[in-house]
Amino acid sequence: MNIPLGHYLILAAILFAIGLAGALTRKNAIIVLMGIEVMFNSAILNLVAFWHYKHFAVPTAQLFAMFSIGIAAAESAIGLALVIAVYRHYKSVDVDEMRALKG
């Protein structure tokens, strides 16, 4: 495989930007969480690409990536529980309608 490292980094940058666009432009809180998941995955892809190209001999980066995936799973569980709690309160998951803290 003779793909240079930069290809993976640029792919991860594009995916991160797509996730950011989703988190910024959508009304539904669940889609905002999905955009955050896309950003998480592109960051972890970066980690694995650096492992493959620079430190192939030791599996440390894979463990790091695994723990990142675990923390991302915990984050999405808490985030979706919050979305359900907010839905019970506001009867909506529109992030523009959650303005209880607005001055």
């Binding site: 240079p4 432009t25 896309v38 620079k54 463990l63």
Partner: protein
């Protein structure tokens, strides 16, 4: 292997774009699953076999289903959704910010010497055995810490989601 990289990248980017642009929320989750599988295929391509399996099990198996359940609990099954305004600007202002970030990151990566690095070489056996030894060896404390974190997240998610029911009783 080059052609595999381009095909998998195209699938992953397509999945990500569809996941954040489609109107139907269930279709969004299906596109997100496509994206997760593309990332897992990239892990296999990078010889991180165990990580690719973990990606499929956790993201496709757990997170995507969790999101589907959240959609079913908060919306009609085919709930739809439109773009929002950001800080009083039109919806495309957020997309413009993201596009600018992509351009800046791409320029920075292209200007870096490290980006031209090529892989150190392929090896015959997978790294799963090494990961297993590391997880029960030097990495056992982080492993237990993440077990505690996941338990706390489980309890926290239940407490947060059940709050209103407890109050009304």
């Amino acid at each position: 292997m080059n052609i595999a990289f381009w095909i998998i990248s195209a699938v992953a980017v397509l999945g990500a774009v569809l996941a954040v642009t489609l109107r139907n929320l269930v279709h969004c989750v299906l596109a997100l699953i496509l994206f997760f599988i593309g990332i897992a295929a990239h892990y296999f391509l990078l010889h991180a076999d165990f990580l690719g399996t973990v990606q499929i099990l956790i993201y496709v198996g757990a997170v995507a289903i969790l999101i589907l359940f959240a959609i079913m609990l908060t919306h009609n099954v085919t709930g739809t959704d439109g773009p929002r305004e950001l800080l009083g600007l039109k919806w495309w202002s957020g997309a413009a910010i993201a596009a600018m970030l992509a351009v800046v990151l791409t320029r920075a990566i292209q200007g870096d010497k490290l980006a031209a690095a090529l892989p150190a070489g392929d090896r015959a056996q997978s790294s799963v055995a090494e990961i297993g030894k590391a997880l029960v060896g030097g990495w056992v404390v982080p492993l237990e810490a993440i077990a505690v974190l996941l338990t706390a997240a489980l309890i926290g998610a239940v407490v947060i989601a059940l709050e209103e029911i407890r109050k009304s009783r």
